[in-house]
């Protein structure tokens, strides 16, 4: 049986300390990452929802099948913005998180599909694919912190 070398013995406490720090960081991330993802996804939706509501004319170009200057396109943008705002608050407050995330995923899937059909895969579309992935992830996340209690 060989005795530990002095250098290895000196490194051991540091390794244990680093392991403890890593373990703590991992536990914190595991506990709060779903909450961070949920709130940040909600902020994205809130930002878009608010701007669609206050300046619908800037967004009518995205409405599939309608002339960008038509009244119907403005109404659809307002309805979309209203839905995004309500969904955003539901996510941020932690209300019915998985169901809300599922609805958000459907909305984002529609956007991704439409943009892909219209102009093919692009950096803009891929960015929405990432947000779609986050919303899909939220539909499967059961444990959440920082939620409205009742």
């Amino acid at each position: 049986m060989s005795t530990p070398r002095p250098a290895a013995a000196a490194r051991a406490p540091r390794a244990v300390a680093r392991s403890g720090w890593l373990t703590a960081a991992t536990e914190i991330a595991a506990a709060w990452a779903p909450t961070a993802g949920r709130v940040l996804l909600g902020l994205v939706l809130a930002w878009f929802g608010y701007h669609e509501l206050v300046q619908p004319a800037l967004w009518t170009g995205y409405v599939p099948g309608f002339n960008a200057t038509s009244t119907a396109a403005v109404i659809l943008v307002l309805a979309h913005g209203w839905a995004l705002l309500v969904l955003a608050v539901a996510l941020i407050a932690g209300i019915w998180v998985r169901g809300t995330a599922a609805v958000v995923a459907l909305l984002l899937a529609q956007i991704v599909i439409w943009l892909t059909i219209k102009a093919g895969l692009s950096d803009l579309t891929l960015r929405d694919v990432g947000v779609l992935g986050l919303s899909l992830c939220m539909t499967g996340t059961a444990e959440q912190r920082f939620v409205l209690a009742s």
């Binding site: 206050v54 619908p56 004319a57 800037l58 009518t60 019915w96 169901g99 102009a119 009742s150």
Partner: protein
Amino acid sequence: MRMRFGSVGPAGLGLLAATGVVGLVLAGHGWAHRAGGALGSLGGRAAAANVAPPATRGPAVGPAAAPSAHAGSPGARAPGPLLASQPFAPYAFAIWPGTPSVAAKAALTGLSVNVHRLTSGLSVTAAVNGQQSGPAHFYLHGVRVYVLEAAMGDDSGSSDYNLGDDGLVVTDAQGRIIS
């Protein structure tokens, strides 16, 4: 109220209801201001011709078949306010005179703007890519041409997904908006 994907209590329902009401109020505001975007947009109508630059969507400029003259030509209207004094000034990128900057080229994404030097002035045409170009507008020498793009994030490749925040502005040599 217990649902399969989570719970919604009275507080949650109240918060969602309040959000819905706020959303309706914002929608009412948006509906009241639906005519104009942040800019004199390529896709919308100008809110106030004397303050904001008029809409200049290429193929939808109007039925006028003959070229129109601006900028100091006989009968042209007086210049408007300084471009620098307008809220959309930060989103204006010069494309004439000189070589457009990288930002100006990015702002031109999805648009086709041509400026040609003539003996008597400049000819400016604007159009959305893939659509027929609008009528040429003529200006005397010395004018400056800017493209407006409020958000570069709606551009990708050669496409601009949202023309509502795009526009074209022509100023005189002093920076006063003439079109």
